[in-house]
Subunit: 336 residues, 2 copies
């Protein structure tokens, strides 16, 4: 066994699963990627993953000591070590820690991708000196991780931080969760596309977005259109930021955080999305909070290894000198 301690970070996405070895400082020594094949049972994913990983890792065992495995996955529950009925996966309830333990008897932690990103920002990104923050991932949907005193808030059952499903509009847009008006139906890659179509029907402005079908339009198209001065596209960004700023003002009234970190695909649109979030958050804040909350784009997402770094950071954040997971309370922090 080698002397360079590394954690294996695994990020399970709907299409691809990426994984890699990361040391405590965030240096990535190895990475790989396989298809998730979410229509097949979870066992087959882990079987293929560890077959690939082991064949390469056995060549490196003289260099590396593997200290733990961190996993980011949709609908993951850190208390139970489970992945539970993720949408668009044919998995049902999966005891992920148990499946992984068959390959490595090491500390294993699983949580959702927003929590993984929040831990990654604390260890290696923009939140290295921020104790209280909210991380928002603007992907297909809207995920969130809440950090209080440098610990992820998991709540009673491990389900804290579902800001994508706070209601911002009574009787608003229909959401996949079965309810209406959820924040993520407005503020997400999918949400901004819905907004673009709403605005195409509302306004008479010429717009290059009028050439797209609903199924072909992406947030990237809207970004390109906005940068070229397209009025509808710019209004769509403004509206997305307005909804998010409105909702986040309510989050600030709960948590009084120092910062809100914006992560994920839509966040790559930069000031197009960051500026309206800032302006609308500030406009909606209770006076005692005005001027006190920073809106920060993620540092980590610029890295091509962001997802692997975050998943590995789960282990580095929670492991102690003996190589065991720090035993903290069920309610905030990690259960072994």
């Amino acid at each position: 066994m080698g002397s360079l301690q590394v954690a294996l970070g695994i990020d399970i996405g709907g299409t691809n699963t990426v994984f890699g070895l990361v040391d405590e400082k965030g240096k990535c020594y190895y990475k790989n990627q396989i298809l998730t094949e979410a229509h097949l049972p979870a066992e087959t994913l882990f079987s293929r993953l560890f077959k690939t990983f082991n064949s390469e890792f056995k060549l490196k065992k003289e260099i590396f000591e593997l200290v733990g495995i961190g996993v980011g996955a949709p609908s993951a529950n850190i208390y139970k070590g489970s992945i539970e009925n993720p949408s668009n996966f044919n998995w049902g309830y999966v005891d992920a820690v148990k499946l992984i333990e068959e390959y490595y008897a090491l500390p294993i932690l699983v949580t959702n991708d927003a929590n993984v990103a929040a831990v990654g920002e604390m260890m290696y990104g923009v939140a290295q000196n921020i104790s209280n923050f909210i991380l928002i991932t603007l992907g297909t949907g809207l995920g969130s991780g809440i950090v209080i005193n440098r610990k992820i808030l998991y709540g009673k059952d491990g389900f804290a931080g579902e800001l994508g499903h706070t209601t911002v509009e009574e009787n608003g847009r229909y959401c996949n969760c079965g309810r209406r008006g959820c924040l993520e139906t407005y503020a997400s890659a999918n949400g901004i596309c819905r907004t673009a179509f709403e605005f195409l029907s509302l306004y008479n402005y010429d717009s290059m977005l009028r050439e797209y079908s609903y199924n072909s339009l992406t947030s990237k198209h809207i970004q390109e259109a906005a940068l070229s001065g397209d009025k509808i596209a710019n209004l769509a960004f403004e509206y997305t930021g307005a909804k998010l700023g409105f909702a986040l003002a309510n989050s600030v009234s709960h948590l009084n955080p120092e910062a809100i970190i914006i992560f994920g695909g839509l966040a790559l649109s930069g000031d197009l999305i960051i500026d309206p979030i800032k302006n609308n958050l500030e406009k909606n804040l209770l006076p005692i909070y005005k001027g006190s909350v920073k809106i920060l784009p993620s540092d980590l997402m610029e890295s091509e290894n962001a997802a692997i770094l975050g998943a590995a950071a789960l282990i580095w954040k929670e492991i102690n000198k003996n190589g065991t997971i720090i035993q903290v309370s069920k309610n905030i922090g990690i259960k072994n």
Copy 2:
């Protein structure tokens, strides 16, 4: 000096200030009350309070050992030990800990009445075995205390837990904070009176509430009317619970708590208010939370000493065996 350890609990209200001695088990040995006289400087309140208290306490010094002083006050900040521009007080910024230290060089903690109530429920009330909860005070306004892993969430600046100022209605009712649609303009003693008048104008039902002026109507009148079958009054309770249930569903999506505890004047209306909160919370919850959040009326508020118990509990909750305040992080918990 006596051997029975007690904490002095002080509750500063707009009209009266109550104070008393409480032991660790929540037994109250002495209590008293003076007028706050909020139009006069804070110094004069503490001067009168300690003159009264000292004259009685010096007779009891052979029995009691005073270990600390806990204070509940509007707009109090636990990090700074301050009371900052409370509405309807002519105080401005008051360094409360400094003023009190002139009388007793002991551990002193000040926080707002909702946090005090939450600590009281943990020490002596319905939350003795609940680690994660939100406490809502339905008084003139709506206050809230958030408890995570048995610690009050204070946030970056000590201002976490302002749920009364989450926005539930864009362009809704005007709030004293200068914004519109804040939860407390609907869900509070004042809010239900506003609702009653809105409904008197909306509906044609006969109602005993039609005899009251805006200035003379109280939530107690609405409660009495509701219990006697008054339709408008019952609709007002239903609407109040609907707004609160809607807002609290969003709070659950942040915090995944085990319970929400309802405290304060309007909570004394019992099922009239508790049932619509329960029903509307449940209706609005994201499916993963359904059936998992208890709505509990406060235990403590039944006690005539609730405010004193809560304020004293601040000390008992945070003091350690050496009689000093437990030094925990600035961000969650108490700073010395």
